[in-house]
């Protein structure tokens, strides 16, 4: 099993990337390559959602790719939010304290609610 990366940018403000399979020392290069095409599509101040529902496994090599992505997006004033990590991925995140808990969401509804809230804070 390898890694499948899909993405969708319904608006320049929000892009979603779906990861499926394993993100490890054999596949992290595929993600880095796909992201090089995807991240320029996100407007400054926009949100990149990484949907992890289909990601079964992550190792330190994969964590590093995600961390670099977060930093890259942060440098451009973008947010990176993680959606629905599965048990192994969640466990690895917890051990290395890889991601602030506030940036991980269990469902699309929870994530939309957060983004609505952020939007209201900006416009209100």
């Amino acid at each position: 099993m390898t890694l499948i990366v899909r993405s969708e940018s319904p608006t320049p403000a929000r892009t979603t990337v779906w990861l499926e399979g394993r993100l490890d020392a054999a596949t992290f290069g595929d993600l880095d390559e796909a992201l090089r095409d995807i991240t320029p599509l996100v407007d400054n101040g926009g949100t990149l959602v990484i949907d992890l529902s289909g990601l079964e496994y992550i190792s330190s090599a994969g964590l590093r790719s995600l961390a670099q992505l977060r930093r890259h997006m942060h440098d451009r004033d973008n947010r990176t939010l993680l959606l629905n990590p599965q048990p192994q991925v969640k466990k690895v995140f917890e051990i290395v304290k890889a991601v602030p808990v506030a940036e991980v969401f269990a469902s699309v509804a929870e994530l939309d609610q957060y983004l609505d809230h952020m939007q209201r804070q900006i416009t209100g």
């Binding site: 090599a61 930093r71 048990p87 466990k91 051990i95």
Partner: protein
């Protein structure tokens, strides 16, 4: 399962798939299977990347034993001396994009294994790792 692989990344991943298949056939649950895969990946990738700085060919032996209450993994290699237990855990929390990849991987491996032993003899490095299949759902402290 007993395997001897050359010190190449593609062989590491073939070994990971073989180990996972072996655990699957023994009806080891998903969580423990993933734990063993992760520890194996972190240690073997580390050995292949850093253990042979002179570029020589090396050999890594993998021995996986499955018992009712314990999964035992033994790794032997002829790489440079390296004790994974002698390295300090990386600073947590911090930006993992900045951390050295080996440090992070070893930290994960040590956190997940129930028990971790290292020895060096005339043949090279020897690591023995034990997993308790009943504890796999919880990260160890």
């Amino acid at each position: 399962m007993r395997l001897r692989i050359p010190n190449r990344l593609e062989d590491v991943f073939l070994a990971l798939d073989r180990a996972e298949l072996t655990l699957d056939r023994a009806a080891i649950d998903n969580a423990c299977r993933a734990d063993v895969r992760l520890v194996l990946e972190e240690l073997l990738v580390n050995t292949v990347r850093h253990g042979y700085p002179d570029g020589r060919e090396g050999q890594i032996d993998i021995h996986l034993e499955i018992h009712a209450d314990i999964v035992r993994l033994e790794l032997r290699d002829d790489a440079e001396a390296f004790d994974p237990l002698q390295h300090d855990p990386p600073d947590l929390p911090g930006d993992i994009a900045d951390r050295e990849i080996g440090g992070l991987g070893l930290h994960l491996a040590r956190s997940i294994a129930s028990d971790f032993e290292y020895a060096r003899d005339t043949h090279g490095n020897r690591v023995v790792i034990r997993f308790d299949p009943s504890l796999s759902d919880e990260p160890s402290p």
